[in-house]
Amino acid sequence: MSEPVAVRLTVNGMPREGRCAPRKLLVDFLREDLALTGTHVGCEHGICGACTILVGGEAARACLMLAVQADGAEITTVEGLMTDGVLHPLQEAFRRHHGLQCGFCTPGMLLTALDLLRVKPEPTEAEIREGLSAVLCRCTGYHGIVKAVQAAAPVLRQRASGGEGGMGSPRGPRG
């Protein structure tokens, strides 16, 4: 197999570096080489969405990218949402509205919802459901998740208009 290559990228605002085989999936690189096990693997064929992360601010499937493709990229994973020990408003809304049970799809669901709210800060319920259909959840029937995203939307709009930055907040596509 080909020799390992260096991968340098920014994850959750921190410069990170590792060496891996060119064929290594980004999700495996995050989990195994960077010990960021919050990003989960559910299908490895891009349907379930559990491995969704933000690459350059946009939602992407970490199981459909190679680590080497992420060289130089800016990545946000679920570990980067909380700041200073305080849950991100979206995480807080998931907690309040019972938007998770087993928690396995939750990281992908959170980052997908964040991307949705960046593109559509005032989504209708149908738009939320359409946006979240990129991630499969088998526990919740999606009810609590939809409620959580509805509840988080105005909070995030307020944050954005107040100029308050923070990890995972809308930054515009690809920087």
């Binding site: 290594k24 989990r31 998770l100 928690g103």
Partner: protein, 809 residues
């Protein structure tokens, strides 16, 4: 704080903090041992084939490969798993002589990492002699069908004819008899976290430690020990605190505990295997596909006199325990919520070249109630009665509880008529019917469906023996089985901190939260003051054969054990305080986190105070009091008895009730089904956390909807799986999830410590019935009645086209 304390409050979940921030501890997250090697499993591409040999040289020579084990190693080292029938089905953790379904493991490659293991798995050469396959359970019983297990001689794994009361008499006395044939599809719950196993063999101590996301029942522990030839005290199962969903499916991981365990033993390295999604869809587990013939005997007024069930349950290539639970798990609640006394059940369990089956949310109750509730509507139509009326006339009355069913079930509590009435009122049933009439007049296909179900929780291990002939069970060497127990320990450390320790295996049900609510209520502290440790370890936890988190048992048996343990500890604190206060214990009471005089006067002792004294100064304990502040309770249901000679068994221990109303519209052009209204009313006894309960109902309902409309593990005639990815196996997304109106009726269980019952499977067992009834009602003008699921657009469209072709223009 009221007497009910934190019970009934939507307390936010303890689990959420770690799960929302990426700090969960799932099987794939944290290697428990160093130098893990990784397995890839070689699987049969054939549905039915004799294995002629293996060529492992190329694979073994590859970079990073530690070794390969094959079915030949399995045959040499293992005994077959015990099965739930007396037919000689030899089921091993991997194919030994023949592969009997696509995806059956035939070899395991272990390498330094998973990528290398998969490379080497590609290089394993298995020589097969393909054999004819059969996937349809009816065809599998034809005389010229290919036989999967030569030693069995046919594909019939088991057959029982159960007779309760006098069904022949009931049918002879009937004014009307209604008959129908149904097909229920094979589907699973596809938890988003797949199976995962890590095994370490300690050759010096002879201990095999297996970490996995196995959910129980822990009857599988002695089963796996026997397969591997290990003494039970040399096999350790550990389950990490977080499991990424299961819905029954992860009970069937146990063959892999043996297979990966064997790889670790043979190759001398710790081995990790994480199932991928394709493997999961090919070869994990699902419910059975079933062909059912139903007959109902009734009087003209709608009173049901008796029923006949005839089933062909397809368990796939082998019958894997706890099958044939697919037929018998609901034995005690075969009659559902209805009063009739005469029943005949003819259950055949058939093996075909499909993947294996096992518990899947609602374990066989989705099948049962789909058939029964469709029959109720057919009976109503035959008699010209409203479907509400025909059900009302047959419901078990509130005065009859506790109610002994003719099949041995003991329904502990309920008010079925009131719960049903609540559902009708919430749904505004009469208004729905008026709207439907207007819609029909306008040429629209709008229908209303009903479904009622008794929701069984906490399986009694004893039900599995219903599969065995009574003559076999009567033999002196036969050992009866029964039981449904769970345990919990509550302890107080020297600083007064309360810790509860469980051996359950939650998969998202929020046990830590529920336990903190119960213990906080019992001890008069805040839930946040209670630390709950919930990690199963067969070496350290108090457990039993029936332990585990399955069959909706925690809300009933687990919570009872926790409350009892807290009460035991509380009694000890009161006795200790009585000694310190030199007062009779009966003059004291436990409240607000301490022991007080009932008069409210004088000094009180807080938990912290008592804990400090008890731990630091054992001399202060009264004579005869055992030192230490810990109490363990094991709660078991006394009603969990072995199946009797007449095949009667109380197959579960608490029984809730579900009443549902759904209105749908079917678009005749696209065959799309739109849910206009869906109401579900549950009676699960005392509710401990309404937020968690609602979550279970939403999730269960969507599982039922998936099975009714979208999901099917579909095979072609050669036994090739057609739905091997999430592109083909369609899981409902947020866009398909309907609005649900939920209401509750509360009939506390007299059998549990808190009056609660299980509810985890909930509407997964009613939605297939309620939506099939609604769609049938919608399409009634076309003469269409649903007898087969899933109601995919293509299937419905074909029905509509055929019906329209047969109608005058």
């Amino acid at each position: 704080m009221s007497a009910s304390g934190w019970i009934g409050k939507p307390v936010p979940r303890v689990e959420d903090g770690r799960l929302l921030t990426g700090r969960g501890n799932f099987i794939d997250d944290h290697p428990p041992v160093a130098n893990l090697c990784h397995a890839a499993i070689v699987r049969s591409p054939h549905a039915h084939a004799r294995i002629l040999g293996y060529d492992l040289a190329a694979a073994r020579a590859m970079d990073g490969v530690i070794g390969v084990i094959t079915g030949a190693d399995v045959a040499a080292a293992c005994r077959p798993f015990g099965v739930g029938v007396t037919t000689p089905v030899h089921y091993y953790p991997a194919a030994t002589d023949k592969a009997r379904f696509v995806g059956e493991p035939v070899a395991v490659v272990v390498a330094r990492d998973r990528y290398l293991a998969e490379d080497a798995a590609e290089a394993v050469v298995v020589e097969y002699e393909p054999l004819p396959a059969v996937v349809d359970p009816e065809k599998a019983l034809e005389p010229d069908a290919p036989v999967l297990h030569e030693k069995v001689g046919s594909n019939l794994a088991g057959h029982r004819r159960l007779v309760y009361g006098d069904p022949d008499g009931a049918f002879a006395a009937a004014d009307v008899v209604v008959r129908e044939r149904f097909r229920f599809p094979k589907y699973g719950s596809t938890p988003i976290e797949t199976y995962g196993v890590i095994a370490r063999w300690d050759a010096l101590d002879g201990v095999l430690t297996v970490w996995s996301n196995f959910m129980g029942p822990f009857i599988m522990h002695p089963l796996v020990a026997r397969v591997l030839g290990l003494p039970e005290n040399r096999l350790r199962f550990i389950v990490p605190p977080d499991i990424g969903g299961s819905f029954g499916i992860k009970s069937s991981i146990y063959p892999y505990l043996a297979l990966i365990g064997l790889a670790a033993m043979k190759l001398g390295v710790p081995v990790k295997w994480i199932e991928d999604r394709r493997e999961h869809l090919l070869a994990s587990s699902s419910g059975t596909d079933r062909i059912a013939w139903r007959e109902v005997a009734a009087r003209e007024d709608g009173t049901i006199l008796g029923m006949r069930f005839k089933w062909l349950d397809n368990v796939g290539g082998y019958i894997r325990s706890p099958e044939p639970g697919c037929s018998f798990r609901p034995t005690g609640n075969f009659v559902g919520p209805y009063r009739f006394q005469h029943l005949e059940v003819d259950a055949s369990v058939v093996m075909t070249n499909k993947s294996l089956t096992g518990p899947n949310r609602g374990y066989a109750c989705g099948h049962l109630y789909f058939e029964t509730e469709r029959m109720m509507d057919l009976l109503a139509a035959r008699l010209g009665l409203d479907p509400v009326e025909v059900r009302r006339r047959n419901l078990i009355g509130v005065e009859s509880f506790p109610y002994r069913t003719p099949t041995g079930g003991l329904y502990d509590s309920g008010d079925y008529a009131r719960t049903f009435q609540t559902a009708l009122e919430v749904a505004k049933y009469d208004e729905l019917r008026r709207d439907q009439a207007a819609a029909r007049a306008a040429g629209r296909y709008v229908g209303i469906g009903l479904a009622l179900a008794v929701d069984p929780s906490v399986s009694n291990m004893g039900y599995v023996a219903t599969a065995l002939d009574p003559q076999f069970r009567a033999k002196p060497e036969y050992l009866p089985k029964s039981g449904a127990v769970d345990s919990a320990t509550v302890k107080i450390d020297p600083l007064g901190r309360v810790i509860a320790i469980l051996g359950t295996t939650p998969q998202g049900q929020g046990h830590q939260t529920i336990v903190s609510q119960i213990v906080a209520t019992e001890l008069g502290v805040e839930p946040a003051d209670v630390t709950v440790v919930d990690e199963m370890d067969t070496f350290t936890r108090v457990w039993s054969i029936s332990s585990g988190t399955y069959s909706s048992r925690f809300g009933s048996v687990g919570t009872s054990a926790v409350a009892l343990a807290a009460r035991k500890l509380k009694a000890k604190l009161v006795a200790y305080a009585a000694h310190l206060m030199n007062a009779p214990a009966e003059t004291l009471e436990f409240r607000d986190g301490g022991v007080h005089r009932k008069t409210g006067t004088g000094a009180a002792y807080s938990i912290k105070d008592l804990a400090g004294r008890a731990h630091w100064n054992t001399e202060s304990l009264p004579d005869g009091m055992e030192p230490g502040l810990a109490a363990t309770a094991v709660f078991g249901f006394t009603g969990a008895r072995a199946v009797d000679a007449e095949d009667r068994v109380n197959s579960s221990n608490t029984y809730g009730f579900i009443a549902e109303v759904m209105a749908v519209e079917v678009d005749p052009a696209t065959a799309a089904v739109t849910i206009l209204k869906y109401v579900t009313v549950h009676d699960a006894g005392t509710i401990i956390n309404p937020m968690i309960v609602e979550g279970q109902i939403y999730g269960g309902a969507l599982h039922g909807l998936g099975g009714a409309l979208y999901e099917e593990l579909a095979y072609d005639d050669d036994g090739q799986l057609l739905t091997g990815t999430f592109m083909d196996y369609l899981v409902p997304t947020a866009s398909e999830a309907p609005e649900i109106e939920i209401a509750h009726v509360v009939s506390p269980s007299p059998l549990t410590t808190l009056g609660s019952k299980g509810l985890g499977e909930s509407s997964s067992m009613t939605v297939p019935a309620v939506i099939a009834n609604a769609v049938s009602d919608a399409l009634r003008p076309l003469g269409i009645g649903i007898t087969e699921l899933p109601m995919t657009p293509s299937r419905l469209h074909a029905l509509i086209q055929t019906a329209r072709a047969g109608q005058p223009a």
